[in-house]
């Protein structure tokens, strides 16, 4: 039997990134990895179509950042980006969900979290909830798509991988484990089309109430190795993180689970005792 050579319709959600040092708008690293994953898929599955989708305001800065994604499409079929135009501070989730529900892609790829704005990493989950689609996070590769079922490789901590099968349509999110994005070429980026759809904005009221401050690296608990020999220090540095104090709860009710989490948070001093 001939292997099924039917392409998939992929939509990549792209955001306007922010360079960590200078704060300049750029293609966001994780979203670019998501597009790279999609472009790799297109090479292997002829007939696949990639759509780029962004919801947000249209200005010079965001446009040049979004064109950064289009510049990755040199020599591929990627030529346009759908921009759901919204004012600053509008909630992207309903707009995206509505568009995806009508455009019916088979696979939606997104980065794990945005580089500016809220950056909570909740968008893929909220979208999956809205659309009723399965979600796989931390994707490393899409191995194959056959008969509407995708075989995915999920990245776990410490380089471990887990193979999953998921029925399409589905949402997948990528982080640093996905392949590094290819170079963005200036010419194709400049010539590509932005299809702008103005949208009635739904204000994100919760976001409006928040005070924004630049993120800072969270302090890390120091691991103090009391050992004189270099061999021991090396072993300690290379060893797996100790999971000694961890606890696996199985077959418990949601109240019991919540109690356990609250108890831990109080013990760690995150919540007042």
């Amino acid at each position: 039997m001939q292997p099924e050579h039917q392409g998939v319709a992929v939509t990549v959600l792209v955001s306007v990134g922010r360079h960590p040092l200078t704060g300049r708008a750029r293609r966001a690293d994780q979203d670019a990895r998501g597009l790279e994953l999609a472009l790799g898929l297109e090479e292997r599955l002829p007939g696949s179509r990639i759509n780029l989708l962004h919801a947000g305001p249209r200005c010079e800065e965001s446009e040049s950042a979004l064109r950064g994604y289009l510049g990755m499409g040199a020599g591929t079929g990627l030529e346009h980006l759908t921009l759901l135009e919204q004012p600053e501070g509008a909630d992207a989730i309903p707009a995206l969900a509505e568009h995806l529900a009508s455009a019916t892609p088979q696979l939606v790829i997104t980065g794990a979290r945005a580089e500016r704005g809220e950056g909570s990493g909740l968008l893929p989950y909220a979208l999956a909830e809205h659309l009723g689609w399965p979600l796989v996070n931390g994707l490393a590769a899409v191995e194959k798509v056959e008969h509407g079922v995708a075989t995915l490789l999920q990245a776990l901590p410490r380089g471990q991988r887990r193979r999953l099968q998921v029925r399409l349509p589905a949402i997948v999110s990528v982080d640093g484990a996905a392949p590094a994005p290819r170079q963005s070429a200036f010419g194709p980026a400049r010539r590509a089309q932005l299809e702008v759809t103005p949208l009635a904005a739904e204000r994100d009221h919760e976001l409006a109430e928040w005070a924004m401050a630049p993120a800072r690296k969270r302090p890390k608990r120091l691991k103090i190795i009391k050992s004189a020999s270099a061999r021991d220090r090396f072993k300690a540095a290379a060893a797996k993180a100790e999971g000694g104090s961890g606890q696996v709860l199985e077959g418990v009710s949601s109240e019991q689970g919540a109690d356990a989490i609250l108890k831990l948070l109080r013990e760690e001093g995150v919540l007042p005792r």
Partner: protein, 658 residues
């Protein structure tokens, strides 16, 4: 019999040559338009040929004299032959007889030249192409000897009906062979094509400003980014301008470029001569199987093919040239400096790189990361722009933003982020303070000059950086810019002009030399060992500054042990053109070869004047010589100038000698 045969042969050859010329011109005109003054160019041709071209050819006296005898003899003989044998003016009385004798002299001169050509071809050096070029001395002899012999009866040395018709036919055949090679081959593509294409190339050269005593034109030409629909850079041979194509066609395959190319010597897959010949293959269409010179190292001849409107670099497969050939170039300009046909190899390579970077997004290895850094942080290393002045935290450097007006703007370059170059910068600041120079720095307002982005083909990033730098510089008043980085020196001085920034830029070696001449610096005598000097490409070949660094070293009391390859023949350190970033593998490393040159000179210290050269040469393992920047040597030798009162109190003292 000869009297009837010769005019037929001569005019038939001329006719066929005219048809060939028309076809050749059509090939060149496939290229993009390029505005050059045609008549002015043709008028300038004799001077460009006799002065500029022979200045380069004359570096090898034997070949130069050979060429003068052969080419001069040929041109004279050809013109006289048309008059004497073609139009039958030789038989008439008066001037006609003189013409015959002149023709004899011209063909004899050409024959002498052809003997030297033949001697050269007996054991040709590897850089020369073989193939059709090996028959050239025989063809030259056939023409000169044939013309000489058929002219003997004309001047009356031999009786008019001498010999039989067999002899006449044989002579006509020899002359015919000569005409076929020398006249028909000139436009139909034999070795003599170089004369026809070369003459027109000199007349219609894309850089007319490079001709003339002391003139040079080394800045890359800006790419027009205004037209959004246009494809950027050169994808197919027809994307070159027509006079670039004409220039490629002028190549005489002498291989001088190959002999000086650092990438070729390092076994990287680049040979400038083959590259130009591949462009000729591309403009005519076909395969490179007919090429008879050294191949690209590691790439057999005959596997590549192209057409005028086909891609030069294939996507995934083989086309005319492989991408790594283009990325091997260090843009050191040794090939351009050495080329007797004034071909602009570096322009062509950067044109093709522009397409690969701007249209394909296929800049190899670490280059995309460097370009992204330049876009996001204005420096290739991706450092925080606010950290640019950290190296000078203790120096209290005056800022342009505070002073607004100074004599000298010190341009730091991206070496400000590099710990090795910071030592050079500190030394330079010490020298400037010792000479009481009124200077200031831009501080965090400075950005990368755009040199690396431009050489990597990213013209968009270059122009963005350049325009912002020009806008920053326009805010302040200064007499001139001073920098210790020849790359910034070149870009600020030669390439910003096209974008609206005209500055008087000094390299620190020139500036220090002038300070010393003005008596503002006093040096202690040199106590170190033997020293050699490495000419940076972007200071020497790009800007013609060979003297000032040597004058500074002389002022320090140093007698230089010159390397065999120094001055305009200096060998590149391997650090230019983004080559350390694209990092195309070869058999050897270019800086290793250069340090070997240093070792052969016997010097224990190599003076440099470029942060790239410093980094590349210091990266050599087990080097026999120390690498110091000129600024460091000067700073170490500084002594306070003897003011009048201290001079009065000065008395002899004991000096420690051991």
């Amino acid at each position: 019999m000869l009297e009837t045969l010769l005019p037929i042969l001569i005019f038939a050859a001329l006719g066929v040559a005219v048809v060939g010329a028309w076809r050749r011109v059509r090939l060149w005109r496939q290229g993009r338009p390029s505005a050059v003054p045609l008549l002015k160019g043709l008028a300038a041709l004799p001077r460009r040929y006799l002065v500029d071209l022979h200045h380069v050819v004359g570096r090898d006296k034997v070949i130069s004299n050979t060429h003068v005898a052969t080419a001069g003899g040929f041109v004279a003989a050809a013109v006289l032959m048309i008059l004497v044998h073609g139009l039958d003016l030789g038989a008439s009385e008066g001037w006609g007889g003189v013409l015959g004798w002149l023709l004899l002299a011209a063909s004899a001169c050409m024959f002498m030249g052809s003997l030297f050509v033949a001697r050269r071809r007996r054991h040709p050096p590897a850089r020369l192409s073989k193939g059709p070029w090996m028959r050239l001395p025989k063809s030259l002899m056939a023409f000169s000897l044939g013309v000489f012999l058929v002219t003997l009866p004309t001047v009356g040395i031999l009786p008019a009906g001498f010999g039989s018709w067999v002899l006449a036919l044989a002579l006509a055949a020899v002359v015919g062979w000569g005409l076929a090679e020398m006249v028909v081959g000139m436009t139909w593509g034999g070795p003599m094509k170089h004369a026809f294409a070369g003459a027109l190339h000199l007349a219609f050269h894309r850089r007319a400003e490079r001709f003339g005593e002391g003139n040079r034109s080394t800045g890359l030409k800006a790419l027009d980014l205004e037209n959004e629909a246009a494809s950027l850079g050169v994808e197919t041979p027809a994307d070159f301008t027509w006079n670039q194509l004409l220039g490629f066609d002028a190549c005489v395959q002498c291989g001088r470029c190959e002999a000086v190319c650092p990438a070729f010597a390092a076994g990287q897959p680049l040979n400038p001569k083959k590259l130009i010949q591949d462009m000729v293959v591309g403009l005519a269409g076909g395969s490179d199987a007919g090429y008879a010179g050294s191949p690209y190292p590691g790439k057999p001849v005959g596997e590549h093919h192209g057409s005028p409107h086909g891609p030069i670099v294939g996507r995934g497969g083989k086309a005319l040239v492989d991408a790594e050939t283009l990325w091997s170039c260090t843009t050191c300009r040794a090939c351009v400096e050495e080329c007797p046909m004034m071909i602009e190899h570096v322009d062509a390579i950067v044109d093709m790189r522009r397409f690969l970077t701007l249209e394909r997004g296929e800049t190899p290895n670490k280059a995309p990361e460097v370009l992204d850094n330049l876009i996001a942080t204005d420096n290739p290393g991706g450092f925080a722009p606010g950290a640019r002045m950290h190296w000078a935290a203790d120096l209290n450097l005056p800022l342009m933003a505070d002073l607004q007006q100074v004599d000298v703007l010190l341009w730091l370059g991206d070496g400000a982020f590099d710990m090795r170059n910071q030592r050079t910068l500190r030394a330079l600041v010490k020298v400037l303070r010792a000479a009481k120079v009124d200077f200031a720095v831009l501080g965090n307002e400075e950005r990368d000059s755009g040199d690396v982005a431009r050489r990597l083909g990213d013209e968009a990033t270059f122009q963005s950086l350049a325009r912002r730098n020009i806008a920053t510089l326009a805010k302040y008043h200064f007499q001139h810019i001073l920098t210790c980085d020849p790359h910034s020196f070149h870009v600020l001085g030669n390439e910003y002009g096209e974008l609206g920034g005209d500055y008087r830029v000094y390299h620190h070696s020139t500036y220090i030399a002038e300070l010393h001449d003005a008596g503002r610096l006093t040096f202690a005598p040199w106590k170190g060992g033997s020293v050699t000097y490495h000419d940076p490409c972007y200071l020497g070949r790009y800007n013609g500054e060979y003297e000032a660094p040597r004058r500074v070293l002389e002022a320090l009391g140093i007698t230089l042990n010159e390397m065999q390859r120094s001055g305009f023949r200096s060998r590149c350190c391997g650090g230019g053109g983004g080559a350390p970033i694209t990092d195309i593998p070869g058999e050897r490393r270019i800086p290793d070869m250069r340090m070997n040159d240093v070792k052969e000179s016997g010097a224990g210290l190599v003076a440099v004047g470029c942060p790239q050269c410093t980094a590349m040469l210091e990266g050599v393992v087990d080097a026999s010589a120390e690498v110091r920047d000129i600024a460091e040597l000067v700073a170490d030798a500084l002594v306070a100038a003897p003011s009048e009162e201290t001079a009065a109190r000065h008395r002899p003292r004991a000096v420690e000698v051991a």
